[in-house]
Symmetry: C2
Subunit: 455 residues, 2 copies
């Protein structure tokens, strides 16, 4: 028979078993972390009617959409989890209670140009809190705590959450009479880490944006405000009273900083950073980015912010919210590239590989059943192979334990349990074996998936 | 602004939060159950190259495919998890160890005619064991144990796994010289529960299939063999020696039955059923169907079997295997329709809703942080609403506990914890509150998602 060459599309991540186990562990920890903060899991279709999904989209995004017809239907694959959330909340408004807190971990699709580290199918892990009409600032203050707890649970230690407030930015630009050019200015300021302050000044005073030297100077002075959170807030106080929106933003930023301690966020994990802007229209209050301090080149690994109108394309209801998103597939790819996936995590498919040595397999099977009832992941290996091949299989799977049941063991009601790492082999009762495996593997099962190297 | 009416496509399941939590619990228990048997989680793309995905497909299946082009690529959405597995195993053959045991829970797509209870996007939950060249019969004997453990962990009590062996069937038809008509005969016999034996006899001896009266009589006698597993096996022994394939199938079936006890499968959960056939070409050994004994009208909720050649469209390697699949979305739909989703399972988004009663929220936030560190799912409610509205929100979310922190509580370093079910309210330390919540909710958190009614 002619064979079809098997292949996986480029831009689509497909992992080998041990890596997949590591990825699953990350997803499990995200679910657990989000749940602790009262977010409920949600799942929405990957396919939506194009008219619904693309109610807002346009330009760059629309070009990337996987869009097609089936029968009479014009369909599209979701390109993020925010638009489906907006649809969900507008559609099920009457059946939901607000604030509505949901998390969703799911695949999204973007037909981007294929290149290394860019994915066309990738997981996003999102949380959002949606209010009905209003949403209290404490929800914005809580987000850094969630980011901090989430990455800490994954095993990441060296990261920093950088926070700004769009009202502070917009209020400041309004003070300078630059509201109409705020977008251009912010895009330019965004380049600061890459091109430095002098080049930024040149661009700001160039013919496109055409600021005066004074205005450019004010901006450069403003964005160079750094220091501890309280130092930055104190410096901002000097601008108070000149514009209402600015004052409101400063109050919000102060509230976010005030509650950090109570939320359990260590000081060094959080910084007010006036250069963080995050796009132009959507965000209206606090904005967040998260950087790995040892790998700033990766860019933000968790971003988001406060918005005023989640579902304006679907409903007249004012639905403000605050949310963050982790690009899980890209993060996993980067962690692997950087060698930051922990080898402490147990990723073998089973805890014990059971090797029966007799024709009647009943005792070995009964042992497997007993192990499983005790919560031990057990695999029976009954293929008719030589002993050496069986052990090679155990090695390749990297199972931590092998168990042998021969005539001797069976007649004594016992089992020989071999620790594959140390090579040590001990005869013990089946109950003892279950306990021995569980206690030996507790650390490996609960290990964090990420492990940063010593610097 | 003109609004786009929000809607979800028909044939796509989108659940409200409490139901979604119940679905997630089912998926979590499936993952746990499959892991106990040494299956490793796998994830493959939802989109594949059409030439790869449709290497085998044809006829009815192909018509249902979501197929489209993007740029130069001819793409299709997967319609099951078996073809992607075949691709995966053929593609990564050199990097896998065999037997390769994987589970996959993922969405698949079929553009079926929309009707109640039929889904175009649905989850399948599959396990497969793939051998390299050969695969021992014990893998087939283990499957009923996995089915039994899985459904039991979900809370289902009244179900039965019905098992047959294709070699027994094919051998039997060969004895009667009917190998060329075995397909037609099996399709007709499949109708037995619906149309009864006399109508089956009519069809078998009718002009399409044209069996002799003797042949039809032999078949009806054969498929009417019932009784305990050992009675059925004994009756089958009477046919031994007449055809090699039959004898081999009978040996396999006997082995499967022999090990049931050691695998922990209760006698009443398992029946050898000679009317189970499961399609024509693909399956070659043991075949499985699973029925809810109180709802036989639902049909099989978990089916599968042994096959000889998983990936013949991609590789010359002979890759035999055995697998089963649960149509999770349809099962969930049916369980809900039948009122079999348990209300004992805690599906609220949080365990405790914290209601601060002071302007400074720090003590309430610190309490939330403490609860979360103890593993309690806590939500802060800080919207400026009247007390009655806050309690109504707690009621609607069905959170089991509300916690109040007023000046009195704060000055004493305590919290008032209210059990929302009983209305009882007690003043206690924050540490006591965490413990009280955890112990009160242990049952609800660990409850099974399915609960059958008393008959």
């Amino acid at each position: 028979m002619a064979k079809q060459k098997p292949r996986t599309l480029s831009g689509f991540m497909e992992l080998l078993p041990a890596r997949q186990a590591q990825f699953e562990r990350m997803a499990e920890l995200l679910r657990r972390s989000y749940s602790l903060y009262g977010f409920t899991p949600l799942d929405t279709p990957i396919i939506e009617a194009s008219e619904v999904l693309l109610a807002k989209a346009g330009g760059e995004t629309e070009k990337q959409i996987y869009r097609f017809t089936k029968g009479d239907s014009d369909l599209s694959l979701r390109f993020d989890l925010t638009v489906p959330l907006a649809k969900y909340v507008a559609l099920h408004y009457a059946e939901l209670s607000f604030p509505f807190r949901r998390f969703q971990i799911g695949k999204v699709y973007r037909g981007e140009r294929a290149q290394r580290g860019r994915f066309r199918e990738f997981y996003q892990a999102d949380i959002d809190v949606i209010g009905d009409g209003k949403l209290d600032i404490v929800n914005e203050a809580e987000i850094p705590a969630i980011i901090c707890q989430t990455f800490t649970s994954l095993g990441l230690e060296r990261f920093q959450i950088r926070v700004n407030n769009r009202k502070v930015l917009n209020g400041f630009y309004a003070m300078l009479g630059l509201s109409d050019r705020a977008g251009d200015v912010m895009r330019t300021v965004d380049k600061l880490p890459k091109i430095g302050p002098e080049k930024v000044r040149e661009l700001l005073t160039g013919e496109d944006i055409a600021l005066t030297g004074d205005q450019a100077g004010e901006i450069l002075k403003f964005i160079s405000i750094t220091g501890s959170n309280h130092e930055v807030l104190n410096s901002l106080e000097a601008y108070r009273g000149r514009h209402e929106l600015f004052d409101q933003g400063l109050d919000e930023l102060s509230t976010v900083v005030k509650y950090l301690g109570a939320f359990g966020v260590p000081e060094e994990k959080f910084a007010v950073d006036l250069t963080i802007a995050r796009g132009l229209d959507y965000y209206t209050g606090t904005v967040y980015e998260t950087f790995m301090t040892s790998h700033p080149e990766i860019g933000s690994i968790c971003s988001g912010g406060r918005y005023d109108n989640l579902a304006e394309y679907y409903t007249d209801k004012q639905l403000p919210g605050v949310g963050i998103s982790i690009g899980l597939t890209r993060l996993f790819y980067v962690l692997e590239e950087q060698g930051l996936l922990s080898d402490q995590l147990l990723t073998a498919p089973a805890d014990v590989l059971i090797l029966p040595m007799t024709d009647d397999l009943s005792p070995a099977i009964a042992f497997a059943t007993k192990l499983r009832a005790a919560g031990v992941r057990a695999q029976l290996y009954t293929e008719p192979k030589k002993f050496k091949q069986k052990m090679a299989y155990a090695d390749r799977l990297r199972v931590p334990f092998a168990a042998f049941l021969g005539e001797d063991e069976i007649s004594q009601g016992k089992v020989s349990l071999k620790d594959m790492a140390t090579g040590e082999q001990r005869l013990m009762s089946t109950g003892e074996a279950a306990q021995a495996v569980l206690s030996a593997l507790e650390a490996g099962r609960n290990a964090a998936p990420i492990r940063e190297k010593e610097e």
